[in-house]
Point group: C2
Chain length 387, copies 2
């Protein structure tokens, strides 16, 4: 395969973005990414838009985005892998370049979720399980799914509500250093623990918000990357896996099998182990999801996630800083944008441009962990400062 | 780029398929394609599902399809390029193999449109223009869009309602030879011309039906294809282009600029001209669309489409047989399935396995022309019997 690097990054402000329409929201990040890469729009051979859709009126987001951004006759499509749509978009642009189809390509992640009311949004999320079987028959929604995971983890490993709240406190702490994050204020453990129960044991502060946002990355071939950038960030491996849409058919609930499988594929492609990582962004749609991710990604043994967290090992200065941009939990989770936002964050970290929330970079490697549904899809991408 | 071939093809019955659910409908074609390729399911490294969605309840069609078909931990995503979603799925599987990521991959096209009533379906189609500007403000639907094209073509080139009706007669004629087609009966020119006006000059028989269906192709690398198949069909070039979502911003209405651009890209990649083609499947969502496609694809000069048709040059035995499987018009148009269905048809033709509607194969090349929206997207793929 040809080598591929991220040479341009862009990221919109995440939050309730009633000030912009869909095309404008996408353009916020596209403009930055194209300028950061130092390319002309006409050099970009194809644009892949990652968006789950359903929250906004337009059914062809790719053409709307391209037209507003001023791309002409560009090859384009939308990709969807639920909440992992952003990573799927990056993989598509990556394959276009890795194959030799293109020299320069753009991946955009995008969602505008606040155009519908919260109840509709909860239904749209709930449909991203197995609609007919589990949503329609049992009324399962996403907080309920992850509450099952939380209860299983608590019962099996003694994980506590306080452990989960600690993920939220960390997320809000780092979000307060990230001006693009949806939430800008720190919270206390007490505040998280006393917040309203959504689906026990998960409370308001255990859940990520509903968000609008976009993120974009310009990818380039080795030749193009060398010309365009002094700090190309290389895509060393993308592992993809999937699992049953029916939680009733899963083997267990203390982790996500798709994360285990996708990460092992990615580590093998990148020829690294978790010990070689300087930073990770993990799919913390709920606090329990971050704890499970530590374990499933091999940052610690199964069941040791809460300890890793309590010991401060996933903070800046710890063994493997996780979601130091605020994560889905506090940066926000505009579904299709999230995977690309993670690529932007890890690229910034490996470039040494993360400002207040910069991690020490020793090995030069970072990881993006992006889950769709409740582990229906998993995309794990390893990025590296070194080729 | 690595060479990639189609080594397995499958195609469901198109029509009103209330007898199957989404997973079952997809499996009809997946089973055939996998058996035709002679592979084990575990050899398939990734599955891309092309589906526009919106007509059925499941929001994650890819995982639903994979689970029912028995794929385990497979890499997967859905792609959407409106009515060109099927071709976009094939391109995704193609890039995975061309890049070296995978040796064997599956592309599935799928739509189950009759789960909603006809009026809802018309709204869903109408949203695939520019929703906010043209659907919401002006009430544009797809028959209305293509009626604009028809009127422009009539005014500019003297094209008649009879010319358009002739496309329908041809489509129904060949569909009567294709047991998988939605419509199995021939129609007369008089019947087409006297059918109800939908959006003048377009009548009922100028429009493709609303359909359920699936189609699937197994793609393989050169090494794998040589082992698996005596009749690999090589993907020689995929050209992709796009255009404004707003018809009010188009330069003209007598053709689709995206078709011209995508086809020239595909011809260049495949190193052929239209004279080297034995067969083509064109995106005839309305009869006028097939006439415009003849011209935009370079089968004849602009404005000469009606003459090419009247002279029988797009029938079997003519210079370039078009849609001899019945086309979208009479085979049916399950949106996401259509592009993959076209790949299946052209593969059958180039293998010499098209039965009653087999064309003579001299050059060994066929073309798939798949449009999304009203030329918002265009994918043109050149297939060849010879490597």
């Amino acid at each position: 395969m040809r080598q591929v690097a991220i040479v341009g990054i862009g990221h919109s402000k995440f939050g309730r973005r009633t000030d912009v329409n869909l095309g404008e929201l996408a353009f916020e990040s596209i403009k930055q990414a194209v300028q950061d890469a130092g390319v002309e729009k006409k050099q970009i051979e194809n644009v892949t838009v990652g968006s789950a859709g359903g929250w906004y009126e337009e059914s062809l987001p790719a053409v709307i985005v391209n037209e507003y951004a001023g791309f002409d006759k560009v090859g384009t499509m939308r990709v969807e892998a639920a909440c992992a749509s952003g990573s799927a978009a990056v993989r598509s642009a990556y394959l276009s370049i890795a194959s030799g189809e293109a020299e320069i390509a753009l991946a955009v992640g995008l969602e505008k979720m606040t155009e519908v009311d919260t109840l509709t949004s909860v239904e749209l999320m709930g449909r991203a399980g197995s609609y007919v079987w589990e949503f329609e028959n049992y009324g399962m929604t996403f907080p309920a799914y992850y509450a099952l995971h939380a209860v299983a983890h608590m019962k099996t490993f003694g994980t506590t509500e306080e452990d989960m709240a600690r993920v939220a406190v960390k997320a809000h702490h780092y979000a307060s250093m990230n001006p693009l994050a949806q939430f800008q204020k720190e919270i206390t453990l007490e505040k998280a623990l006393s917040s309203q129960v959504v689906s026990w044991p998960l409370k308001l502060y255990d859940a990520c918000p509903i968000s609008d946002g976009s993120a974009a990355v310009v990818l380039a071939s080795e030749d193009a990357a060398r010309k365009l950038s002094d700090t190309p960030i290389w895509i060393k491996g993308i592992g993809v896996s999937s699992d049953s849409a029916n939680l009733s058919r899963r083997d267990g609930y203390v982790g996500l099998a798709a994360t285990v499988d996708a990460s092992r594929k990615a580590y093998a492609l990148a020829k690294i182990t978790p010990a070689d990582l300087d930073v990770a962004t993990c799919h913390d749609c709920f606090t329990i999801a971050e704890i499970m991710a530590y374990e499933d990604l091999g940052f610690c043994a199964k069941g040791d996630g809460p300890k890793l967290l309590r010991d401060g090992q996933t903070e800046i200065g710890g063994r493997i800083p996780v979601n130091v941009d605020g994560g889905l939990k506090a940066k926000g989770h505009p579904v299709g944008a999230t995977g690309v936002s993670m690529m932007v964050e890890v690229s910034k970290q490996l470039r040494g441009e993360a400002g207040k929330h910069q991690v020490p970079v020793k090995h030069g490697n970072g990881l993006v962990h992006n889950v769709g549904g409740t582990g229906h899809y998993c995309y794990v991408t390893v990025l590296s400062r070194d080729q």
